[in-house]
Symmetry: C2
Subunit: 106 residues, 2 copies
């Protein structure tokens, strides 16, 4: 027996692959990778602090944060005037770490 998926058994289906790809698209951006790294190392932070650490304009940073939040990668919590962001999906950190490994096969 040889179906179209015989060598792809166990792979996510089309809809799930589309979801995985859409999350990866968000991570596939240098500034957003920096945001993930910053939040991993420095912990949760309000936007203006991230602005200082990462050297973004306010509008651009806010859009990056909101995209990642809507995708579930980050979570946000308002504390008074500030909104504190932190990592909500550990796959963001995992992917960053994966990418920083050596690429060679063992």
């Amino acid at each position: 027996m040889k179906t179209k998926t015989s060598r792809c058994a166990g792979l996510p289906d089309a809809a799930e692959l589309e979801r995985l790809a859409s999350v990866l698209r968000l991570l596939a951006h240098p500034e957003r990778l920096r945001i993930v790294g910053r939040l991993e190392r420095g912990g949760a932070a309000p936007v203006h602090e991230l602005m200082g650490d990462l050297d973004h304009t306010q509008g651009a940073l806010s859009q990056h944060l909101n995209h990642m939040k809507r995708a579930g990668l980050l979570q946000a919590e308002r504390r008074g005037k500030e909104v504190w962001y932190s990592i909500a999906d550990r796959r963001a950190v995992s992917v960053l770490h994966c990418m920083c490994c050596k690429k060679e096969n063992p």
Copy 2:
């Protein structure tokens, strides 16, 4: 002391982040994720076999393969009329596995 990068120490520099992001951009596509999964599970294969397994048109598949090859994610070897592709950068597989994990934090 509090520099702009004090909470980002150890993160890759801007050029390296751009390189990581460009590799992730390639993986951030459902069809290319399927190609990685197929090559991981079924091993190296010529293009026409991938075409059958993955249900792509020839031109589209060839372009995906070549993009990933140029980025070093895949490698290609000609055997007679055929060109056999296989995975060259294990990060491709790692990222796919990362993405298939549960997203919840422990």
